[in-house]
């Protein structure tokens, strides 16, 4: 044991008694943060999620203003301008996006050959429509479908799961038997059957995606409701005379909000995927409407000669999906108190 047994002489006033303010001892060192402030700080630390949010906002803006940026209308056909490769002013001098494309195996400046003075930033399709404009129009449609489908899933799922879990008993029994059967039906089968019997279009796709999409949310919300409704703070509120409505809106929903948001963040990319999937196999949106799925389908057909037609929508859908998934991951990490250090 290494001790200092020889006591050095110290100034006597050092040994004056002092009184410690007991408030001082009870002081809480860290500033207290609300759940949402804390979650926000955590999300901000997640670089991937932050970048994703920025990219997503950028794409949202482009989806809104992109179709008006270069003066070409999305449905304006001009057969003389058909199948032009991408040409972007400025970048063209660098040897890419310079309007040079394949013609019978040879590299030719198709703009020069066809005497086109305009620039088609992402090229044109077989009908001479501007692909840049169509790409963002398609993104608009895809995002619209995804957001609406996710919102419907959320509303139905929360209502169904909430009612089932909150009222319990026989209501819960019946509602859960229905879910048990529905959950056995593969989503793919339902979506395809539904889309076949409806008139093709945006509404049909939204309905088809939402018809079983809410089940996942309803199960989560039911489980959460069951968990919270038996906890003391709910019991306390009930003892103080709160009505069901108040308990649900003041106590249950705020506690479940995090998990509902996370789940919704993962339904959006799922809906984007299903829309594109249906359009790709040819039973989704019909011409002349464009979505990311139909653009990819169109691009796929001519991939051999005009790969750019596939490339741009494929990139946009992939980046959108990545961004949504990363934001979802980030939110889950930020809102999940289990991971709290």
């Amino acid at each position: 044991m290494r001790n200092e047994f020889e006591h050095e002489q110290l100034p006597q006033e050092e040994f004056e008694r002092i009184t410690i303010d007991s408030d001082q001892a009870e002081r809480i060192e860290k500033p207290s943060l609300s759940f949402w402030q804390d979650a926000w700080l955590r999300l901000r630390k997640n670089k991937a999620a932050v970048v994703s949010v920025v990219v997503l906002l950028l794409f949202l803006i482009l989806a809104l203003i992109g179709p008006h940026l270069n003066g070409h209308a999305g449905d304006a056909q001009n057969l003389r301008h058909a199948n032009l490769p991408p040409k972007i002013p400025g970048i063209e001098k660098m040897g890419i996006f310079d309007g040079v494309g394949n013609l019978a195996g040879k590299k030719v400046d198709l703009y020069e050959m066809k005497k086109v003075d305009e620039y088609y930033w992402f090229g044109t399709d077989g009908l001479g429509r501007d692909l840049f404009t169509r790409l963002w129009l398609g993104t608009q449609v895809s995002l619209f479908i995804a957001f609406v489908a996710a919102a419907i899933d959320m509303v139905i799922g929360v209502a169904y799961g909430g009612i089932s879990g909150y009222y319990g008993g026989r209501t819960d029994d019946i509602m859960q038997r229905i879910v048990e059967i529905l959950i056995g039906i593969p989503t793919l089968v339902v979506v395809i059957l539904m889309i076949m019997i409806m008139d093709p279009g945006i509404m049909a796709i939204i309905i088809a995606i939402s018809i079983t999409g809410w089940i996942g949310m309803s199960r989560i919300v039911r489980a959460q409701t069951l968990k919270y409704k038996s906890q003391e703070f709910v019991l306390a509120s009930r003892t103080l005379g709160s009505k069901d409505g108040k308990i649900i809106t003041k106590h249950l929903l705020p506690n479940m909000l995090g998990i509902i948001i996370i789940n919704t963040m993962f339904t959006i990319p799922n809906a984007i995927f299903f829309e594109a999937f249906l359009s790709f196999i040819g039973i989704g949106l019909q011409a002349p409407d464009a979505s990311l799925g139909t653009l990819i389908n169109d691009g796929y057909k001519v991939m051999e000669h005009q790969p750019y037609m596939l490339l741009f929508p494929a990139l946009v859908i992939s980046i959108l999906m990545i961004a949504f998934n990363l934001i979802g991951d980030g939110l889950r990490d930020a809102l999940d108190p289990k991971m709290k250090d």
Partner: protein, 354 residues
């Protein structure tokens, strides 16, 4: 009095997002062969970290040994290779954890889990190892060991699981057994059984035990010596009688005063005010000063060194400095000191009661 383990000036920090947490700030103690040393203190005082650092079980990515050494059989455990450490763990030094419900692998039979260290360290044949496993299970009081070694942890109760964890720890007759709050997660009746078991085993295999707990009742029951930790440091160390009946540090006073006692039923239970120090920014002086009603000016400026009370008893408080004013400990403590020969409040017992 062979010293089997010496911890000298140990300092250890965790690197976290918030910054460097100085979890251990200069810890010194020796472990003597065959003794039970209890380390007590509240949550976050560094008692668990100290023992985990002896076993080097802290995450290598965030924990850093800043200073000091841990001497075991001539080797400094803070410096030896991971391979050497693996040979020491489970063989020379083994450990019992707090929660028996989570410390066994749920998908491995308990027999395999007990056999693992035997096969690894003793190089026995499988059948010999199995024989030893069954002996161990009998030793720790699991009935029908011959048939039950094939079972999975979920088929045992909490107390039985802790017995199994003890069997694992004893598998290679370790020289040092570290018990990290081994009874905290158990029922009171089971706690007593486990404590009895540990005492019995210690007699049988003559091992040294480091017993971590925040339960002073348990300490009185099992320990030979006690080290009191606060804010990442040992503030007082001595034999169990010295700590219980002649405590010197205000924190030890606080701990003992907050212990409910039968014969002082009418007394209000004491609670130490305030919260443990923030080890991200440890205080400059005595870490306990902010919560102490005996604080002096110097407590705010300089960390107290250890002052010798007796050959076996040391305490780190400026109150023991010859220049310090004489203070009066809480009444409960004075009551205790009255029974301890050598304390300044000792009164010769004249009656028959001990």
């Amino acid at each position: 009095m062979t010293k089997i383990l010496q911890v000298k000036d140990l300092e250890l920090s965790f690197h976290t997002f918030a910054g460097e947490v100085k979890a251990i700030r200069g810890v010194n103690f020796d472990l003597i062969k065959g003794e039970t040393l209890a380390i007590v203190g509240e949550s976050g005082s560094g008692k668990s970290v100290t023992t985990k650092s002896i076993m080097r079980l802290l995450p290598q990515s965030s924990a850093e040994y800043k200073n000091g050494e841990i001497l075991f059989e001539g080797k400094d455990l803070t410096k030896v290779s991971e391979k050497t450490m693996q040979k020491i763990r489970g063989k020379d030094i083994s450990m019992i954890f707090q929660d028996p419900m989570t410390s066994l692998n749920p998908t491995m039979t308990i027999g395999k889990q007990i056999m693992e260290p035997i096969l690894k360290h003793q190089k026995l044949s499988k059948s010999k190892a199995l024989e030893q496993t069954i002996n161990l299970l009998n030793l720790v009081g699991i009935p029908n060991a011959e048939s039950r070694y094939k079972m999975y942890p979920h088929q045992f109760s909490g107390g039985q699981r802790q017995r199994i964890v003890i069997a694992i720890a004893l598998a290679c007759n370790p020289k040092i057994l570290i018990a990290d709050e081994p009874t905290t997660a158990l029922d009171v009746t089971i706690q007593a059984q486990i404590l009895e078991l540990m005492k019995e085993i210690q007699k049988k295999i003559d091992t040294s035990i480091i017993f971590i707990t925040h339960d002073l009742g348990v300490v009185a029951n099992v320990a030979d010596r006690v080290a009191v930790m606060y804010g990442g440091k040992i503030v007082e160390i001595g034999t169990v009688d010295e700590i219980f009946y002649n405590p010197q540090h205000p924190y030890t006073w606080g701990l003992l005063s907050s212990m409910p006692s039968m014969d002082l039923a009418d007394q209000k239970l004491y609670a130490i005010p305030g919260t443990p120090p923030d080890l991200l920014n440890p205080p400059k002086g005595d870490a306990f000063a902010l919560r102490s009603e005996y604080a002096m000016k110097i407590d705010m400026e300089r960390q107290p060194p250890f002052f010798k009370v007796s050959d076996t008893h040391y305490a780190a408080t400026w109150l023991l400095h010859p220049q310090a004013p004489e203070v009066e400990p809480p009444a409960v403590i004075i009551e205790r000191m009255k029974t301890f020969p050598g304390s300044r409040y000792y009164v010769e017992q004249t009656g028959g009661n001990a």
